[in-house]
């Protein structure tokens, strides 16, 4: 059984994704414990500089080069990684729990007949076992899962759940050329599609009044807009509000929406699941209004009111008017 920890480097449109450095940091810490090596794996075509940039984060950088890997396509990725895994038999492969892993990790694990835990916020190794921490039930409960990694395993980690540290290593670069026996013509990447830009860029706003599921009805947005106007902020939201069609996608805060860093973020009726917190936790001052005292948003906020938002919001609007 190898003790090596492999980490899949993720890149898009010529840029390394931040999550890559988070998982490499974790891989490095774990490889120290297991006595194995940290191996960064990058797949692509003509990205020598990106592969090169990983050298300080790993003992070894394996760069699998092929034209078909120019854009992420789960079937080509799966073929290449399966072959690498079978040849080198790492103890564990770590990925970000991202749009790449969603498409790739479960089917790769099945193909390799190895266990996989997806979407964890942390994990540890104890002998040949891997134990994860997963944030479940919308962030209100943690779950610990385990698997035996004797024959290898895969873990995917939510982006933003671990710190990314400077590398400090000086790994060697190994370029591996790979040829595919099959063409996957039944599934073809066509193009990237940018989301429609909104009339308001919430990433530039200094004050954001953000709403979630607790707002209940579309009509109640007017009350929030009034509060935002009196404070001089813009209205943003969590995912359910966009799903319901009450605000455009450009107003969504969270990992699948925008990441914001305003001076003030007031979260109203937002429970605060992990994906939302990733989009706003670096705001300077965070105020949460929610009737559920156990809502995870209070863990990210500086100040909180546990009460019915329909009573608090009008009162707050009045108080703001008085003090302005």
């Amino acid at each position: 059984m190898s003790k090596d920890i492999y980490a899949l480097a993720e890149h898009r449109q010529g840029e390394m994704r931040d999550v890559t450095f988070e998982i490499l940091t974790k891989a490095k810490i774990l490889a120290k414990e297991t006595g194995g090596s940290t191996v960064a794996v990058i797949l692509g075509s003509g990205i020598d500089n990106l592969a090169e940039s990983l050298k300080s984060y790993a003992d070894k950088v394996v760069y699998i080069e092929n034209d078909k890997l120019g854009h992420f396509h789960s079937e080509y990725y799966q073929e290449a990684l399966k072959s690498l895994f079978e040849e080198r038999k790492p103890f564990l492969m770590v990925m970000g729990h991202t749009s790449v892993a969603y498409e790739l990790a479960p089917s790769l694990a099945l193909k390799l007949d190895i266990p996989v835990i997806t979407g964890c916020i942390d994990f540890r190794i104890d002998g040949s076992s891997v134990y994860s921490v997963n944030s479940v039930y919308g962030g209100k409960v943690n779950a610990e899962y385990s698997f035996n990694s004797e024959n290898g395993g895969i873990v995917t980690i939510l982006a933003g759940s671990m710190p990314a540290e400077e590398g400090g290593l000086s790994g060697e670069l190994e370029k591996v050329s790979f040829s595919f026996d099959l063409e996957f013509e039944d599934k073809i990447f066509l193009q990237f599609v940018e989301a429609v830009a909104g009339e308001i860029d919430i990433t530039q706003a200094e004050k954001i009044i953000s709403i979630g599921r607790g707002i209940k009805e579309e009509e109640n947005l007017a009350m929030i807009q009034e509060l935002a106007d009196s404070i001089g902020g813009v209205v943003a939201c969590s995912r359910p509000i966009v799903d319901a069609g009450w605000l455009p996608k450009s107003r969504q805060v969270g990992s699948s929406g925008k990441t914001v860093k305003p001076k003030l973020y007031i979260a109203i009726g937002i429970s605060g699941d992990f994906q939302h917190l990733m989009g706003m936790r670096n705001a300077d001052t965070i105020i949460a209004i929610n009737k559920d005292p156990n809502a995870p948003i209070f863990g990210a906020a500086d100040y909180g009111i546990v009460d019915d938002l329909f009573k608090v919001v009008p009162a707050l609007k009045d108080k703001v008017a008085e003090l302005k």
Binding site: R12, R17, S74, T98, S99, Y102, E103, P106, S107, L110, K111, P115, I117, G119, Y131, N134, V136, Y137, V141, N142, A143, E144, Y145, N148, A159, E185, D186, K187, I188, Q191, F192, V193, E194, R213, G214, I231, G232, R239, D243, S250, S255, S256, G257, K258, K263, T285, F298, G299, A300, Y303, G304, I305, D307, V312, A315, L316, K319, V320, E322, L323
Partner: protein, 253 residues
Amino acid sequence: MDSIVCIKRVPETAEATLKIDSSNLKLDEENLVFSINEADNYALEQALLLQEEFGGDVTIVSVGPEKTDEIIRMALAKGATSGIRITPSNLEELDPASIAKLIADEVKDLDYDLIFTGCIASDDGFSQVGVTLAEMLGINHISMAVEMEAEEETAKINRELEGGLMEKFEVKYPAVITIQTGINEPRYASILGIKRAGSKELKVVEASEAKAEKVKLEKIYFPPPGKMAEIFEGGPAETSGKVAEVLKTKGLL
């Protein structure tokens, strides 16, 4: 065009006060309300929209306890053709791969063009069953679909990436598509639909002990209290006054 929709019964936890069962392996279900997993509801709607456009059957499949019949009946009331409930004796020991295997065994001989399911379950958040199922059936998959243009034999699908970006794929049927919330507007069942649902076929598969796969749930627990907001006490006038003062002090008014 025939579709299969895989749905899951989950507790509504967003606004509920949760308790953990003494086994430390599951929630105390006593005061919880269960419903169809949110993303699966959008997956169901996507299948119903294609049924309206192209005709064909929509078959609902769900792995769960007997009460799962409630969400299957609701899907039938919205227009699905028939349902299959799979209930293994060791349900709580099963990991996503085991669940996918149960579904694969049941649907592999059915006629279908597309299999839909939600891209994430609101309870465990694994996002594995759809993609694993596709691999077991040896068919294509696209995960995190946020836009879909379907034709008779292929579909163009926008997948959701991080930060609001999407990527467009073209995929040939048969395929598994995992659906992200917001792709459509899920309908409500009509009274007539609810009446008709009672007479639609709901097959029950009492699977004997299914093979528990490789991943084991050790325990669930409440997250250790970390940094916590300073909570203002009092009625709305008082608490909102304190917030307004914070804003003024910090120069945020």
